[in-house]
């Protein structure tokens, strides 16, 4: 029997992963109004790039982590330039963009199948070892997940509230034309938004890879959970995502503890429907 304290730690760790994935979705939606179904692929590519770097070079793990995050940022910017920007010349580009994110997700997923083959890859834990306190044990890697995700979330809140680029991005989100008039390059802001998203997805991929293998289909189950987190918290709200991630992680852990693990996804679906029926804008959402 797992003690309550251990369960709480699992909840916190899971919440950390959901925060990273959810923030990616919510930021891109908040800034560009595109719902990015390719987030799961960013997750996947982050894991694969880190694996390749570790395999091919003898850089230290920490360095690989930082480099991969950087690569993923550029990857996201490139993604926006290649797939989303050409669509913006059409009138109803919001819809086409959503469908393109779906199509490109399949493109990117199966590209990994072509490049790295169908066998799952696994990464080592970032730092080995376990923290112990009496009967409670907590892997350092999990602690790192929590610390990293919380500090990234804090940093992003600071970034969007205080820094010039963050403010510019929010301005573009409110009114792209207005932003252009006062001299904010809206295209570049959209690219940054996708860059940040891809980076968050990649980091989540790297952090989760030691726990689940990385293979071409792994992004989708994570994406569904992130979808529910984001809707629960309110699309576009960072604060909401933080709270919802932990609530849903708690729900998932208690479900897995009581029933089989396989029921977690159906329960998420039920939660999603209940949220939309009762409070469709989510916990902290604005219309």
């Amino acid at each position: 029997m797992v003690s309550a304290a251990n369960l709480a730690l699992v909840v916190v760790t899971l919440g950390g992963i959901y925060i990273l994935m959810g923030l990616g979705l919510t930021i891109v939606y908040g800034i560009t109004k595109v719902f990015n179904f390719a987030q799961g692929s960013f997750f996947l590519w982050g894991g694969y790039i880190a694996w390749t770097l570790l395999d091919a070079t003898n850089l230290s793990y920490g360095a690989v982590f930082v480099i991969t995050a950087g690569i993923m940022f550029l990857f996201g910017m490139g993604y926006e330039k290649a797939f989303i920007r050409p669509l913006r010349r059409f009138e109803e580009w919001g819809w086409t963009a959503i469908i393109v994110t779906l199509g490109s997700a399949l493109l990117l997923d199966n590209l990994t199948l072509l490049i790295w083959g169908p066998r799952g890859k696994t990464l080592d834990v970032l730092v080995d070892g376990v923290l112990r306190y009496g009967s409670i044990s907590f892997a350092i890697h999990d602690a790192l997940i929590v610390i990293l995700s919380m500090s990234i979330a804090m940093f992003l809140i600071f970034f969007f509230q205080k820094t010039k680029i963050g403010k510019a991005m929010r301005a573009v989100a409110q009114d792209a034309t207005g932003g252009n008039i006062v001299g904010i390059p809206s295209d570049r802001m959209y690219s940054y938004a996708f860059g940040i998203t891809a980076m968050l997805g990649g980091i989540a991929g790297m952090l989760l890879a030691p726990r689940t293998q990385i293979y071409y289909y792994v992004g989708w189950p994570v994406l569904v959970k992130a979808l529910v987190v984001v809707v629960f918290g309110g699309l576009g709200s960072i604060k909401g995502t933080l709270v919802a991630a932990f609530i849903l992680a708690a729900i998932e852990v208690s479900v897995t503890n009581q029933l089989e693990a396989i029921w977690a996804l159906p329960i998420f679906m039920v939660v999603l429907l209940i949220v939309l029926a009762i409070r469709p804008k989510g916990l902290f959402g604005e219309w």
């Binding site: 797939f83 959503i98 199509g103 490109s104 199966n110 590209l111 979808l227 396989i262 159906p266 429907l273």
Partner: protein, 334 residues
């Protein structure tokens, strides 16, 4: 008189009638080629699915990604009824359709009050959750991760359909095809279709006139899941196998490409898309993973280059020609 005849048999309807005639006669050319026949049957099935998806996304402007989920719900419903309770396949296809219609209405009632991306999120989540439910639901007779096999074959007057002779299958599929496409066509040109057109052109004005968007959306959502569910039932009985692999995103994406390639909100587009993609997909199977990369690339490039699909190209040509003839007429008058 001639004018009236010309009105009734305008170029478009002549085109429709001849294409339906060609589709009806197609199997005569391929009686020996089982693969081609199989692909032709699949094309009919996917034409209906793509057209009903088009009805939802293109006309009703509901961003729905649940079409394959409804297809599979219909398929599973039909298979489970006829396997576990010995229901006749014809009835079970219909029952599968009504099951998927019921689930579609349930989801629609909750999420269609919201617009845009929320519906997309719910329906896509439904799609991604379905394989887990079907795997976990072994106790209810879903067959777990292996799915259901040996689904009974339908019978007509004591004669069972067989997988050796595909011609009867083709004509059953053709019957569904004609019936459902006529239904979709009627809906598009009915009060409901007009209501959606009004909503698309000027939402506020249409609502002021008293058009209840929610009600129409739920109705169309239900009809489309019914149609898709029946086709799912037919597909399950025809393939004699349904398993959670139907939820693999490649089916989803294939159907989505059919809609997009044909042209969103362009009625016969889904049919053209279905035929092209079904055959293309078959010939690309040899490339395995590369096939889906190519398919993904097609979606992306079609959306970027021709957001209105093939029908959009036709319309462009037509507009270009009418403009040209208009200019010529002006010249003659001068």
């Amino acid at each position: 008189m001639v004018n009236r005849l010309r009105d009734r048999f305008s170029g478009q309807s002549i085109f429709f009638i001849t294409s339906i005639g060609i589709i009806a006669l197609l199997p005569l050319g391929f009686t020996d080629e089982r693969t081609t026949m199989h692909l032709l049957i699949l094309s009919l099935v996917w034409s209906v699915v793509a057209s009903s998806w088009n009805l939802i996304m293109g006309y009703a402007r509901i961003l729905s990604f649940g079409q394959i989920a409804f297809f599979a719900i219909g398929g599973y419903g039909a298979a489970m009824l006829s396997l576990n309770w010995g229901v006749s396949p014809w009835l079970s296809m219909l029952a599968g359709g009504f099951l998927s219609c019921g689930i579609g209405l349930g989801i629609g009632l909750i999420c269609l009050r919201l617009r845009g991306i929320y519906v997309g999120i719910v329906t896509f989540a439904l799609h991604l959750v379905m394989p887990t439910i079907m795997t976990a639901g072994r106790a209810w007779g879903t067959g777990g991760s292996w799915g259901l096999t040996n689904i009974p074959l339908p019978m007509i007057g004591g004669l069972a359909f067989s997988k050796l002779d595909l011609i009867p299958w083709y004509y059953v599929a053709f019957g569904f095809f004609v019936g459902f496409l006529y239904l979709i066509y009627k809906i598009i040109n009915s009060r409901t279709g007009l209501a959606f057109m009004a909503l698309r052109d000027s939402e506020t004005f249409a609502k002021t006139l008293g058009i209840n968007e929610y009600r129409f959306s739920v109705i169309v959502f239900g009809i489309s899941s019914l149609i898709t569910g029946v086709m799912g039932g037919f597909y399950a009985h025809y393939m004699r196998l349904i398993s959670p692999t139907i939820f693999n995103l490649d089916y989803f994406l294939l159907a989505l490409i059919m809609v997009m390639l044909g042209g969103l909100g362009k009625f016969p587009g889904g049919i053209i898309g279905a035929y092209i993609i079904t055959f293309l997909n078959h010939y690309l199977v040899a490339y395995e993973a590369g096939r889906l990369v190519i398919m993904g690339a097609i979606v992306v490039s079609v959306m970027i280059a021709f957001p209105n699909g093939i029908m959009g190209i036709f319309e462009y040509i037509k507009r270009y020609r009418t403009r040209k003839s208009y200019i010529e007429r002006l010249r003659l008058n001068k």
